[in-house]
Each structure stands twice: as C-alpha cells, then as structure tokens.
C-alpha cells in the first residue's frame, strides 16, 4: 500500500523573503498542527529507521494520530483537497464500470467524470506515476485529484459493490468450481449411489436378513479398526518427530523488522462484544511491527453491539472494521471471504475473537513460508486452551486438542497426508489463497475443507511450532452445538471430495485418498457407529443373549473384539500422549474417562447427521466468553494451565 507517504507535497510554502522553504515533512506538519507530540515523532522516526515503514503508517498503527487528521494533513502536504466520501459519494454509474479489485489494488477511486477529465480520490501520494496509472486503469486523463483514506475507499467499495462483494464471497467458489463447493450437499450421482445402497440394504434385509446384517456389522467393524490403526500410526509418527522443530527460536530472533512482510489478520466476530477488549489486548501482544499489520475486524451488519464495543475500544489505526452484509448463509467463511477481498497484506491469518496467539507466531509463519517451497499454501499453528482445568469438559477438550494439534497434525504432515485445518491460526500467502478460491461459505468446517482442497490442487500444508490459546467450551450444550457443526462440516467435506473418487485418487494418490477418507469421513462414521456397538455389547453383557451370535461370524467377531479390547484402549492411550509435549501431566489420568467424552461425540454426530439433511448450511454458533477464567488470565495464557 502506497497510501501514507511521508514526503514532500507538490506545493511548497514560501518564506517571507520569497525563497521557497524546504518542503515540510509529514511529521513536522503534524507537530506543527499540534496533532503529534515532538517526542512521539522522535520515537516514531526511530521505529521507522528499524522497520523502513512509512511514518504515517507507524503513527496510525501505534495510535499516535487519528486517521482523519493524518489524511487531512497529507492532503495539505500533497496540495490536494480532502474528500469525505460519505458526504460526497462517487458516481455509481462510473464506479460500476470498473472492478472493485482494481480499485483496491491501486487505492484510486474514480469519483466522477468532468468535461476536463476524471476526478479521482486516492489514499496515495498523487504524483505523476499515480496520475499515469489512474489514466491507464480508468481510460481517461485525470483532471482533479482528491485525497481520502484507505478506510473510506474500503467502505465506499463495500457500499457500492455490496452485491458483487457478497456474491463473490458467497458464490465465488461455487461459480468457479461448483464441484468443490458444498452448496450442493449431495450430487445427483451421490444421491443415486446412496439411494442404491439404501435400497440394496432394504432388499438384502428382506431377502437375506442375516447375511445383510452380518455384512453391515462387518463393514462397520472393519472400518472402525482401520480408523483406529490409522490414527495410531499417524500419532506415533507425530510423536517421533515431536522434538524436531522446523523453526528455531534463534531464527525468529534473527529476523529484522525491515524484512518482514505485511500481514493481514482477519478476525470474524459475531455477538462477541464482551471479548473485543481482550481480543485487541491479545493482538497487541504479537511480536510484529504494528505498522506492518492490517487487522480486519469482520463484524456482521446486524451485530451493532459488537460494532459499538469495537468502536468504544478505540483501536489503533491498523484495525479496520469491515461490516459483513447481512445475508444467508451467515457463516464465518463468508465473512472471511469478504475479509480476503479487502486484505492487502502479503500474508494472512485468521484468529477467533477469544484467541491468544503466541507472540512470535507471525514471525514463525513468515519463516516457515520462506523455508517452504512455492507450493506451501498454508501453515497451521497449534491450538490449545487457556482454561484447561476449569471443569471435566475443558480437561477432556484440552487433551483432545493437544493430541490433535501436537501429534496428529504433525504426523499427517510428516506422512504427507491431507491436513484438515483447524478453525483459526491458519496462515496463508494472500495471493495463493485467492488463487485457491478462498473458503467455501457453504461448508461449516470451511477450514478443514480448505486444507483438503489445497492438497487436491497440488499445494502443501504445513504446521508451525506455535500455539494459539482459545477458550474451551465449559458447557455441555454449547460443546455439542460446536461439535455437531464440526462433524457436519466433516461430513460435507467428505461428500464434496468424494464426488469423484477416481479423480481424487488420480490427483493425490491412493495413500492420501485413503488417509483422507479414514480421517475426514472416518471421524463422523466412527461416532455414528459407536453407539450401536456399545448398545449391542451392553445388551449382550446384561442378558448374555445368543440372539446376536449369528451376526458375529468368526472374522467379524475377531475384529469387533479387537475394537472393543484394543481399539478403545488405544483410543485412551493415545489421549494420554496428549499431555506430554506441553507438560499437562495432571490431565493424563483424565484420559481414562474418554469413553464418557466419546458418548458426547456420538450425540453431536447424530445431531450433525440430522442437520446435514435439514439445515446443511446452518452455522451452530459457539458462545464464547463463558469461561470463569477469562477475567483471571492476562498476559501469558499458559498461566491458566500452570
């Protein structure tokens, strides 16, 4: 972004002797107008020497000057009038002749046509190059230039291109690659296949009920076993490389601020007014030059409360509010796509409102991308919980997350398997993410889908040794809502990528395809099938009935015994693994209670299945800010886990 150039303006003041004064600099002008204290200017100049960033950007991002004042001053220095786009909006007809992406790219907004030429507004220094660029982009000479802020340009674009931005955010992927969008829950061939399977089962039950039930039982049990073995192998591989860190602390320390790229942070929020304050505090802790950060707070249009809270928090100038147009589907990925549309950073990351990322996370991501090849599209940081010890649910959730992010994902990465991304802390090179099509707003685990899509498109997904601390669900109902969404999303993802299994195998290979099915399809299937197995076992154990004997011929019996005795034990054992990397030793005995936790998973899985048919795109909102520990922990989130 060229917007904030602290340079001389085109108009130079004259001294009393008639000689021109040396051109006034931005800092001096702000100090002269009483908008900036001299000591703040000195400090900002020192920062500028380190980061080589523009002074205006430094002042804005550090909250030393108001955006309006800065651009007013810049307008004067540039010798052009300032325009308030709210009061003087551009000509809609003219604006719609151009693509909004083009305007965003150049930060030049065509205002209106005059007989002499175009009138434009810009947040950049209006030098000859800019005029030439404007003439080239908009097809005519520039007659008049006016200064504005980049904030106003964004807001104007969203106002005038609301439909386009919304359509792109919502249907962009669907229009470009309909086969990769969850907009269609079941394709015709899938519907036909499921109908055929259902009819075949019914027919089998009518003609050969015993054989049919044996086959079903066998299928479920074999799948369950394969899933257990797969998870065991992957997590052992993850554990094997536990101590091999791809990014060293010394490398992070050696990074120079001036070398760092611009980073966009997307924070989708909805009805989360209560955590806005802590969100801004947590983002402030990031060890990254604020002037190189662009924080886009994605607030839903109907969520006035959060917007007001955000305004009241008086965030620094690098925080920008983007109001997401209120339209179905009202999902996080849709908001993120709008954010992606406006993102101007070289890299981009998503955080949830209650997230507490490790301060050096962005730098580690930058290093990971530098080390990774050109196909590396995303690096995922580990997620964990700051309120791990709040109650039973948070303990189990922490064990599960620690296992998943500390062992399972690194294992998948090492084995070159598709990685379903976690909900937040995914870092992308912005352009490559756009190339991939952004998130699927119809998929309620858009992150997992994106990870798989990236692999299918030939990209790579990696992991970085950094953690973002979140708030673990403390209430069962809230947990089930969240989990049912995740499981429904996994179902959607499995359905989307299984539309053409042969093509999937061709593109990512048989091994990865199997890995994908065992992980993404396997997770919901395991939780859906488990209650039936528990029920059968309980019925048999209580009544010692022989009614089930015919349905357990030797091979099925052996596999089901393996699942009962070894599979469940491995499930518990692997969860014990979770506590080691982070030293959560006191949580390890809780792994023994996993079977209770699995019951909750199964409840959520059935809810997800029901919603897949009734409300496939419905976003089960997780309520945040419920933790008692929210107010207690400031600074280091691991304090809560001590």
């Amino acid at each position: 972004m060229e917007a904030l150039t602290a340079s001389t303006g085109p108009v130079q003041a004259e001294s009393e002797e008639g000689k021109p004064h040396p051109p006034m600099r931005l800092g001096e002008a702000l100090v002269a107008r009483g908008l900036l204290r001299p000591e703040d200017l000195d400090w900002a100049l020192r920062i500028q020497a380190q980061t080589r960033e523009r002074l205006g950007q430094i002042l804005l991002s550090r909250g030393l000057v108001r955006r309006y004042d800065l651009y007013q001053t810049l307008a004067d220095l540039w010798g052009v009038p300032f325009v308030d786009l709210l009061q003087e909006p551009p000509d809609p007809e003219l604006l719609h002749r151009f693509r909004p992406e083009e305007i965003l790219e150049s930060w030049i907004l065509p205002l209106r046509e005059t007989p002499e030429g175009l009138e434009i507004a810009t947040a950049r220094r209006p030098d000859a190059a800019l005029l030439e660029e404007a003439a080239r982009r908009f097809g005519g000479p520039v007659a008049r230039v006016r200064a504005t802020t980049e904030w106003d340009i964004r807001r104007t674009l969203l106002r005038f291109f609301r439909t386009d931005v919304l359509a792109s955010a919502t249907y962009g992927l669907y229009y470009r690659r309909p086969e990769e969008s969850a907009h269609t829950v079941f394709t015709r061939s899938q519907f036909f296949a499921f109908a055929l399977a259902l009819m075949g089962t019914l027919l089998g039950l009518a003609l050969a009920p015993r054989l049919t039930l044996v086959l079903l039982n066998g299928l479920v049990n074999f799948f369950f076993m394969a899933s257990v073995v797969f998870k065991f192998v992957v997590s052992m591989v993850g554990a094997r490389y536990e101590r091999e860190t791809p990014i060293l602390e010394e490398e992070v320390a050696a990074l120079k601020d001036e070398e760092l790229p611009r980073y966009t942070i997307l924070v989708p929020v909805y009805r989360e007014a209560s955590v806005i304050g802590s969100l801004l505090a947590n983002l402030k802790r990031l060890d990254y030059p604020p002037e190189k950060l662009e924080i886009l707070l994605l607030i839903e249009e109907d969520d006035r409360e959060t917007l007001e809270a955000a305004k009241a928090a008086r965030p620094p100038g690098n925080v920008c509010f983007i109001l997401i147009p209120d339209q179905i589907p009202k999902t996080k990925p849709k908001a993120c796509n709008v954010g992606l549309f406006f993102a101007s950073g070289d890299y981009l990351v998503i955080y949830d409102a209650e997230d507490r990322p490790d301060p050096d996370q962005l730098k580690k991501a930058v290093l990971a991308f530098r080390k990774g090849g050109p196909r590396l599209i995303c690096v995922q940081a580990a997620l964990n919980y700051f309120n791990a010890r709040e109650n039973f649910l948070t303990r189990m959730f922490t064990l599960e997350y620690s296992y998943w992010f500390d062992y399972m994902l690194p294992g998948l990465y090492r084995l070159g398997m598709p990685i379903p991304l976690g909900g937040t802390s995914n870092h992308f090179p912005t352009e490559r993410l756009r190339e991939l099509g952004g998130w699927d707003p119809f998929n309620v685990t858009e992150d997992a889908d994106l990870g798989i899509r990236a692999i299918v498109e030939g990209f790579e997904v990696g992991v970085i040794p950094s953690t973002t601390y979140e708030e673990a669900n403390t209430r069962v109902g809230n947990w089930i809502r969240q989990r049912s969404r995740w499981i429904k999303g996994y179902m959607q993802t499995a359905l989307v990528h299984a539309r053409n299994p042969w093509r999937l195998i061709r593109r990512i290979g048989l091994r990865r395809t199997l890995g994908f099915f065992l992980l993404v399809a396997g997770t919901p299937l395991t939780f859906l099938s488990a209650p039936w197995m528990w029920l059968m076992f309980a019925w048999w154990a209580i009544t010692r009935t022989h009614a089930l004997d015919p349905f357990f011929p030797p091979p099925v019996l052996y596999v089901s015994l393996f699942n009962l005795l070894i599979g469940n034990a491995i499930g518990i054992y692997l969860n014990m693994l979770a506590g080691f990397k982070r030293g959560y030793y006191d949580l390890i005995p809780w792994a023994l209670l996993n079977p209770i936790y699995w019951v909750l998973h199964s409840i959520a899985a059935y809810k997800a299945l029901w919603q897949l048919f009734t409300r496939p795109f419905y976003w089960e909102k997780t309520t945040h800010g419920l933790s008692r520990w929210l107010g207690d922990i400031h600074g280091n989130p691991e304090e809560g886990n001590a």
Partner: protein, 476 residues
C-alpha cells in the same frame, strides 16, 4: 536419481543388509535346532505351543486361542504348527535378539574384534542356544523385552515421548508372549523416576500410567477373552494346560531365605559378565544401576511370592542386560576385560548346564540316536494320528506332547471340546479310544482320575507304553 528415489534405494538396501545380518545370526541357532530335531528331541514349550496351534487350526475357530496361553507364539505357529516351524521361528527370534545386541555393541568404543567377540560369546552361550532353538515363546518374549527396554531408555533418558508409548505398548503386548511381562512393566514404571529428570510427582504418575496402562489393558483383555470363550477368566493362571507358570515348573520355588540366597549366589556366579557390567555402571552411570538390577529384583520378587523364575530366563536376561548395558563411555582399554568376562560367562554357562530340560536337550544333542522316551512318544503319536476324527478321548494337559508329535488335533476329544466332560462320564457313547497317562504331571484331571488305575467301562486295553495306556471300546 532423485533425492526421494535415492532415499528409497538406501532404505531398501538397509533392509536387505539387516535381513542378511539377522539371517546370518540365526544360522547357528538353525544348525543347533536342526541337530536337536534330528535327535528326536521336542521341548515341552514347543510341544505345548504346537498342540494349542493344532487345536485352534483343526477346530477352525480362532476363539480356541482362549485356551492357549501365551497366545502370541501360538498364533505365530498357526499357519504351520510343527516342531520344525517352531524351531525355525525360535532361531529367527534368536537371530533378532543377537542382532539387537550387536547394534547396541556398535555404540561402544571397543575395537571391532572385541565387539565381535562379545556378540559371539552371546550367540554361543548354551542357554541362548537352548532358548533360541527350544523356547520360541520365551525367545519371542525376550525380543519384546529388549525392544521395550531400548524404547524405555530412549524415553527416560532422551525424553522421546513416542519411545515411551512404544515401550508401554511393547511390554503390554509382551504379556501375550510371557507371563513375566507385567513384572517388567511394573519394574520399568517404578524405575522410571530414577531416569527421568523430574521432581514433579504429576510427571512421575503420568510416566507410571503410560508404562503400566497397556499391560493392564492386555491382561484385562485376556481375562475378558478367557471368560468369553472358556468362562474361566483366570484359567491362564492356574490351568496346567494353559499356564506357562505351572506347566513347566522346574522345581525351583524357593521358600526359605537361605535356599533363595544360595540359588541367587549360584546364578550370579553363572553370569560373571552381568556382575562385571554392573560394577562398570555403578562407576560410570550410577543413576542407571537400579534399572540394571531389574532382572535380579524380578527374580527375587518372583521367589518371594512363591513363584518361579526359570534359570535360563535369568541367565538370558543377565546376558542381555549386560551386553546392552555396557556404558557407552567405557574406555576402550576396558574392552578386553569385558570380553574376558563374557568368555567366562560362556564357560560358566556350559559348566552349569546340568539341570532340568536343558540337560536332556544337551544330552540329546550329542546322542547318536533318539532317547527311548522320544521314540515311545513318536510311536504313540504315529498310531493316534491315523485314527478317525473325534475318536480318541484325551486330556491335553497330559497328552500335549503326543498331540504335538501326531501333527493333528483332529482325532482327539479334548477338555476344550464341549462334549469332553460328558465323554469322560460316558466314554462308550462318544469315543472309541482313550489315551490315559499312567503318572500325570501336575494336578490330576478327570480323565486320569477315573481311568488311570482301571479301564473305562466297556473299554479294553489295546496297547500300553511306559507311562501310557491306550484303551479301545469293546465291540458289543
């Protein structure tokens, strides 16, 4: 050649070389095993395993494994339940064991000829030769113990979490090969705090859980399976036909402290290398000493609880712990001393060979013709093998050697068969022959109790051999 292809080729070459090394190290065991087989010798353990594998195979249902403890060697023998297969598997396990020892020796700064000498002294020990040819189950358990031990060290010393979990899993899994595995698991778990540099009791508890949980689960699973298939959840503890603990008791349960101390001293003298390496560890790595003493503690523990700890197991464990435990920092000049101790151990092991089954095996190895007992067993087995399926009533707690030599369980009606009890009561209605041991080993079963001293009603004595009677149903 691309990098990945090169890596694959290197990995393949490594696997091939390792395969060759393991085969080479298995060769001495195969030669000795073949010599034992040609002399007609069949160990109790192999007979037991083969008989159980035949039972599972011929009845056609894997759940009969519930009658066979330890199940892992039985399952391994299932495709080919013969004395030759048992010998080959034992030899390969022995080769694996030796290869693991050799790999550990490579880390030492000793000259290559000393390392080679140490490895050969291990392979040449009569006890190791015996185990690696006649005790497939025990050798398999030793391989698992050694792997678990190596993983355990990686976990406790280098903090490798995956190794800790693997150690727990391997030692838990080893319960299906040896009854002694839980004791090892417990010992590993209890010794872990000495290794792991932690003073956090929560960390200690976590390590204990990780090392003990798989064993608890494998024992629980086995109890459940035994209950499910035999309705006797703890049968593997007391059933003479199923328990390694009692079936092969080598008359060495020590009750008095004096007897225990005497045996302990004798066994320590039998393993001078273990003693010598113990001194080295005490001097160079004293923190590791408690873990090094695990075999000794287990032995004393087993005796104190009235159990047994076979001499060959203690000798083998001593040799394994010693050769795997020589501190890496041991100065090269001490290598010759260690080698002398190893050669002394080789001699001591040969000198103290005269006890139990090992003595009979040693004698058979050098004998020019098979022993009378083996010839008789072969003769009975050959005769029974030709009889129709389900026609011979027998109790495999006594007749397992005959069934193993017969190479089929088909002709026999055995205790796990549902009709066994009723067939013992009314044999004339169910079987045509009954084979009865004259002097049963261990607890007497219902068959021997009834018909050891008199012929079953309606049956006549068809043939008798030293120790065995074969009755035939009299034709009406």
């Amino acid at each position: 050649m691309s990098l990945s292809t090169w890596k694959q080729a290197t990995a393949f070459r490594r696997i091939v070389w390792e395969g060759i090394a393991i085969s080479g190290l298995s060769l001495p065991f195969l030669i000795v095993g073949a010599a034992s087989l040609s002399s007609g010798f069949l160990s109790h353990e192999h007979a037991h395993l083969i008989e159980k594998a035949l039972l599972v195979r011929d009845r056609g249902r894997l759940e009969w494994i519930g009658f066979a403890y330890p199940p892992l060697p039985v399952l391994t023998l299932l495709p080919w339940p013969t004395p030759l297969a048992a010998m080959i598997l034992a030899s390969v396990s022995g080769g694996l064991l030796a290869w693991n020892v050799g790999r550990r020796l490579q880390f030492l700064a000793f000259p290559p000829w000393i390392r080679a000498g140490l490895l050969l002294s291990f392979v040449g020990m009569p006890t190791i030769l015996f185990l690696a040819t006649q005790r497939f189950g025990t050798t398999l358990a030793l391989v698992l113990f050694l792997w678990a031990w190596q993983a355990y060290l990686a976990f406790t010393r280098h903090g490798r979490t995956d190794a800790g979990f693997l150690a727990g899993l391997i030692i838990g899994f080893a319960f299906y090969a040896s009854f002694y595995a839980p004791a090892f698991a417990l010992a590993f778990a209890l010794a872990a705090p000495l290794f792991a540099h932690t003073r956090d009791p929560r960390h200690t508890l976590a390590i204990l859980m990780v090392l003990a949980f798989p064993t608890a689960m494998t024992i629980g699973a086995w109890i459940y399976l035994s209950w499910l298939f035999t309705e006797q959840p703890l049968a593997f503890l007391y059933d003479p036909g199923s328990s390694m603990l009692i079936a092969f008791r080598p008359d060495e349960a020590f009750i008095t402290p004096e007897a225990m101390a005497h045996e302990l001293v004798q066994r320590l003298l039998n393993t001078p290398l273990y003693l010598g390496v113990g001194v080295l560890i005490a001097r160079l790595q004293p923190r590791r000493l408690p873990a090094y003493l695990i075999p000794l503690l287990l032995m004393v523990g087993a005796w104190s609880m009235g159990g047994v700890f076979p001499r060959e197991l203690s000798v083998a464990l001593g040799a394994l712990f010693a050769l795997s435990g020589i501190p890496v920092r041991t100065p090269p000049r001490w290598g010759i001393l260690v080698l002398i101790l190893a050669l002394l151990q080789l001699g001591a092991d040969g000198f103290f060979i005269h006890y139990g089954e090992r003595e009979r095996w040693w004698a058979a190895l050098w004998a020019e013709k098979p022993s009378t007992a083996d010839t008789v067993e072969e003769e009975i087995a050959g005769r029974l093998a030709r009889l129709p399926c389900g026609s011979v009533l027998a109790d495999d707690r006594q007749a397992y050697r005959l069934i193993a030599r017969a190479g089929t369980a088909c002709p026999f009606v055995l205790p796990p068969d549902p009709i066994f009890q009723v067939a013992v009561s009314r044999p004339e209605r169910f079987v045509r022959w009954i084979i009865v041991a004259e002097s049963p080993r261990g607890p007497i079963g219902p068959l021997e109790a009834r018909y050891r001293l008199r012929a079953p009603p309606g049956f006549v004595l068809e043939a008798s051999w030293p120790g065995w009677y074969l009755y035939r149903r009299g034709e009406p």
